[in-house]
């Protein structure tokens, strides 16, 4: 085992804390630390928020805190799912969107957006609800196309995923062409920038996140065993098919819930596990919890960048993560000779 003076978990935790703080401190309006401290003190003591502090209070607690929470939840869900899928499919290019979550969520959202719901509770909930349903239904479709009896062969999953993804993508493009009015809104959503703020998204995502990631965290050993192939894994006593169903199921739930509110954010699920593998190796018992922390930190940093890079405009965070993709892959390519994780 690699011996380290500081366990990587602490480093990851520290990185996450730093990212969380940064996300709270940074925005298109700069708040002084003094004001922030005064607001926190006022709230904790149950006293009145004076008029001069109201702006800082609103910005901190109505805007930045819920957004920070949502971004952290999304980043961690994407990174852990990405790591799990890379292990499940034994493929370094696997990411959480492989079997339809993104294309399904996008299609669901665009369908509702092209119907032009009004402004009321139902109308606002419609987009996240439709994208969640779209994501789940698409995964179900992929799975039912791929299965052979009770088993889920990996190759079938990959092929069915490719087919369904392109079909859903084509439908989405067609709908986008037809609904010129909502085009901007749909494109912004698809790029990973949903403007729905507040605590409702966080509360909606939380149960799926807890269940999904809670179960995925226990899958480290199983994923390790599965690196030897389905046959050897089964011969070693691992119920391969059941494991695969579970991982796909909970991972889809967690990522579907996350992207329903934040839009499709790419590259997190791909990059973060790879980066962590380079640092701590391919043992999934370590990789999964580290991906949780690292994914949250990564997306928080990307979100901070999205907020300050073109102020006052806030870029969709998906653009930032996509822009980091190219240099990342080039770097991986250069180091690929020393990449010992894929045979």
């Amino acid at each position: 085992m690699k011996g380290r003076t500081v366990h990587p978990i602490w480093i990851a935790l520290a990185a996450l804390l730093a990212a969380l703080l940064l996300s709270m401190l940074v925005g298109s309006v700069s708040l002084s630390l003094v004001d922030m401290a005064r607001v926190v003190a006022a709230r904790l003591s149950g006293g009145e928020i004076g008029a001069d502090l109201r702006v800082a209070d609103t910005i901190l607690f109505s805007l930045r805190l819920p957004r920070t929470a949502l971004v952290a939840l999304t980043g961690s869900a994407l990174a852990v799912s990405g790591a799990a899928y890379q292990g499940l499919f034994r493929n370094p290019l696997a990411d959480p969107y492989l079997i339809g979550v993104a294309s399904g969520a996008g299609l669901g959202a665009v369908i509702v957006l092209s119907l032009r719901w009004g402004y009321d509770v139902a109308g606002l909930l419609a987009v996240p609800l439709a994208s969640f349903s779209g994501a789940v239904l698409t995964v179900l479709m992929v799975v039912s196309l791929a299965r052979v009896g009770r088993s889920l062969p990996v190759t079938n999953l990959l092929l069915a995923g490719v087919a369904v993804n392109s079909f859903a993508g084509a439908l989405t493009s067609f709908l986008l062409l037809r609904s010129t009015g909502e085009l901007r809104r749909a494109i912004a959503w698809l790029m990973g920038g949903s403007s729905m703020g507040g605590w409702q998204p966080v509360l909606a995502v939380l149960p799926y996140w807890l269940i999904g990631l809670g179960i995925l965290m226990t899958m480290g050993h199983a994923l390790n065993v599965m690196q030897f192939g389905d046959e050897q894994a089964q011969q070693l006593g691992l119920p391969v098919e059941t494991t695969r169903w579970i991982i796909i199921g909970v991972s889809s739930l967690a990522t579907a819930a996350a992207v329903s509110f934040t839009g499709i954010i790419g590259f997190v699920g791909l990059i973060v596990p790879h980066l962590l593998r380079l640092l701590v190796g391919g043992d999934y018992r370590r990789l999964l919890p580290l991906s949780l922390l690292g994914g949250a930190a990564f997306l928080l940093l990307a979100d901070v960048l999205a907020r300050i890079v073109m102020t006052p405009q806030e870029l969709p965070v998906g653009i930032i993560t996509a822009l980091t993709g190219t240099p990342f892959f080039l770097w991986i390519l250069r180091r690929s000779r020393s990449l010992p994780y894929w045979s």
């Binding site: 804390l17 904790l44 702006v55 402004y119 009015g181 912004a188 006052p312 405009q313 870029l315």
Partner: protein, 310 residues
């Protein structure tokens, strides 16, 4: 040292989290004489204790209306595209349809945020969640529906009398145009180009838009009505078949000139090109639901019928 700062950060974060769960006590609002209660374009009830003194306008049309009714000095922020009147450019730009900085809007401490139909419901909710008062102006479908928008904004900002005077003035101007057009028999066909980046399929507008309404009021035939959508692309072949009398360049603001149009492949065959009836048009006069729509109508009457107006 490292341990200490980590500990400090953890404590700060915990403090933030805990205080998020407590509710802030806000000072009681002082009661005023007569609060303003109105229903906005989304059916929401909006209440203002007094006329709004710090207004943020997130649409160019709203900015124009605010200045037109005399509330220009009460506007504290605008969207990036608000450019008329020129005084508006001095106000801080807060973003555009790609995204608004809610933080900066909050930092301006507005008592009213004016939205238009180009904004999604999510924006309304985000602004409400940040504790702001939002009024959403729905698009008018006819000139008569534009006038109440001006009155509404006048009421919201304490300039009702001015707004009413403005409405009277605008209606008069419209009446003048209609009277001058009353005796004119011909209805020229018009192609209104919104975007000609792809000359084989230029974008135009169908029925149901302001431009279409204005063209109708200016006694012109909008060839774009052949399409069944509000905005769409018409192929150059269909355009050649329709052979409009006039081509109005709504993208003139982006630098498109009649010379460029004449040089496009296939466009040289159009009658309007051959007879020099490709005319630039300030799209802001026809696409922003506000008082300048009347300017747009007058301009159309001048360009298409040669009407002289005071």
């Amino acid at each position: 040292m490292k341990r200490q700062s980590v500990l400090l950060s953890v404590l700060l974060l915990l403090a933030l989290l805990v205080s998020a769960c407590t509710s802030a006590a806000t000072p009681a609002a002082t009661p005023t004489a007569s609060p303003i209660v109105m229903t906005d374009g989304l059916g929401r009830t909006v209440t203002l204790a007094q006329p709004a003194q710090r207004v943020v306008s997130l649409a160019p049309s709203n900015t124009e209306i605010l200045f037109a009714v005399g509330a220009g000095s009460q506007v504290v922020g605008r969207d990036n595209f608000s450019n008329y009147p020129p005084e508006a450019l001095e106000l801080p730009g807060l973003g555009d349809f790609m995204g608004f900085s809610i933080e900066q809007i909050v930092a301006l401490n507005p008592d009213l945020v004016l939205l238009a139909e180009i904004h999604p419901p999510e924006l309304v909710k985000s602004l409400e969640d940040a504790g702001l008062t939002v009024y959403y102006l729905k698009n008018p479908l006819a000139m008569e529906e534009m006038y109440p928008m001006l009155i509404t904004v006048g009421e919201l900002t304490g300039h009702k009398a001015e707004a009413e005077a403005l409405v009277t003035q605008l209606s008069l101007r419209v009446a003048v145009v209609q009277q001058k057009l009353a005796n004119i028999e011909e209805r020229p066909t018009v192609f209104y180009e919104i975007d000609g980046t792809d000359p084989s399929k230029p974008w135009t507008t169908g029925s149901g838009t302001f431009i279409d309404t204005l063209l109708e009021m200016a006694k012109a035939e909008n060839v774009g009505r052949a399409m069944d959508s509000q905005y769409g692309q018409m192929s150059i072949e269909a355009l050649l078949a329709a052979d409009p009398d006039f081509i109005l360049l709504g993208d003139a603001n982006f630098g498109v000139t009649p010379e460029q149009v004449a040089a496009r492949p296939g466009w040289g065959e159009l009658t309007a090109v051959k007879e020099g009836r490709v005319l630039p048009f300030n799209d802001d006069l026809a696409s922003r639901p506000g008082p300048r729509l009347v300017d747009g109508l007058e301009e159309l009457a001048r360009l298409l019928h040669g009407v002289t107006l005071p």
